[in-house]
Symmetry: C2
Subunit: 209 residues, 2 copies
């Protein structure tokens, strides 16, 4: 690692680089220049080189970047090989859909358990994951120490669930409730997916005149 501080803007672009490189790789493309990658992505070559320079030197003058290698490096930076453990709390429609469809492994996460309060769901197995009673959450966390919790609980339960899980040692939250959740523990990381915010920006852009 080269730089101690990497800006949020750079971090947000990393997964996109990763996606493009993955795509190029799967198309059998072996090498790419910052110029060519930039024009595909609609950004400047300068920005790509500047971004990558935060983490090291991955290219070669006169050649560009080896697609497979760079993909691996960025995956490394993002931590996709760290095999983080993840639990999901709340298995309603959305939680269910994520368990069913989302490729946690591709992002380096292993979905190990699901929790809900609904008797209809408890005991069911979805995509190989057993839905357990929320009452067992504490015991489970003490025993397995999951890294991250995916929150798909009702809004009203969002913050209390976070507080509870932080006390149990969870240090990352992927939050799908439309509430902002926080913790005074600075080691806890939050990443939220705000559907409504996303749609509202689209609304703004198609409303403009």
């Amino acid at each position: 690692m080269k730089k101690q501080y990497v800006s949020e803007a750079v971090i947000r672009r990393l997964p996109r680089y990763y996606r493009y490189l993955d795509d190029l790789h799967s198309k059998g493309i072996v090498r790419i220049s910052s110029n060519s990658l930039g024009s595909r992505m609609g950004i400047t070559a300068s920005q790509i080189r500047q971004d990558l320079s935060c983490f090291g030197e991955f290219g070669q003058q006169g050649y560009g970047y080896n697609v497979k290698e760079l993909r691996t490096e960025i995956g490394q930076i993002l931590g996709v090989n760290n095999s983080h453990s993840l639990i999901i709390v709340g298995v309603g429609n959305l939680g269910h859909a994520l368990v069913q469809n989302f490729h946690f492994n591709d992002a380096g996460f292993s979905l190990d358990a699901a929790f809900d309060i609904s008797p209809q769901l408890i005991g069911q197995e979805i995509n190989g994951v057993l839905v357990q009673d929320l009452k067992e959450l504490d015991d489970y966390c003490r025993e397995h120490l999951p890294d991250v919790a995916l929150l798909t609980v009702p809004q009203s339960a969002a913050q209390s669930t976070v507080d509870h899980l932080v006390a149990l040692g969870v240090r990352g939250f992927w939050n799908f409730t439309n509430k902002e959740v926080t913790s005074d523990n600075p080691d806890v990381q939050f990443e939220s997916v705000h559907f409504a915010d996303s749609l509202l920006t689209l609304s703004y852009r198609i409303s403009k005149r």
Copy 2:
């Protein structure tokens, strides 16, 4: 409207302001200063005032902002009263969950139709929305001219669906496929929700050291 160009950064913050004001309003709070709102949101008062100044003058010296009024103004800016029409293409797990749970109306959208190719789904009604055969998409669009399409089709069908719908006059896409979609028509707006990108930034932050 005061400013012709409003930066992406500002636009992205607007829904968050809207959410906070909505929350304050529902708590019965009548007025708020930029200072107090800023400390709640974890941003500077300066930024709030600067952001709002792109759109007009909504406050009053010595008083601050009327919560209800400002909420309405920002809603207006975002276009939540424009009553955009929306269709959903692809009613798999995720599409189903969105139809079932997401409050389209709160964002000013009316979900008018759903389309899929699966015979098991066609004819079903989900949350008051009838799932129609994808074959009827063209006729539907010609007749109803929907503003926006929510894309929850398989990745492989993403771009072709967009091309098809753009030709039919759709000018906004809320894209949930993990593919980037585009159009050479500059009037078409895209807003994507990239689950994997989101989780990867969390992975980065909990992996760092």
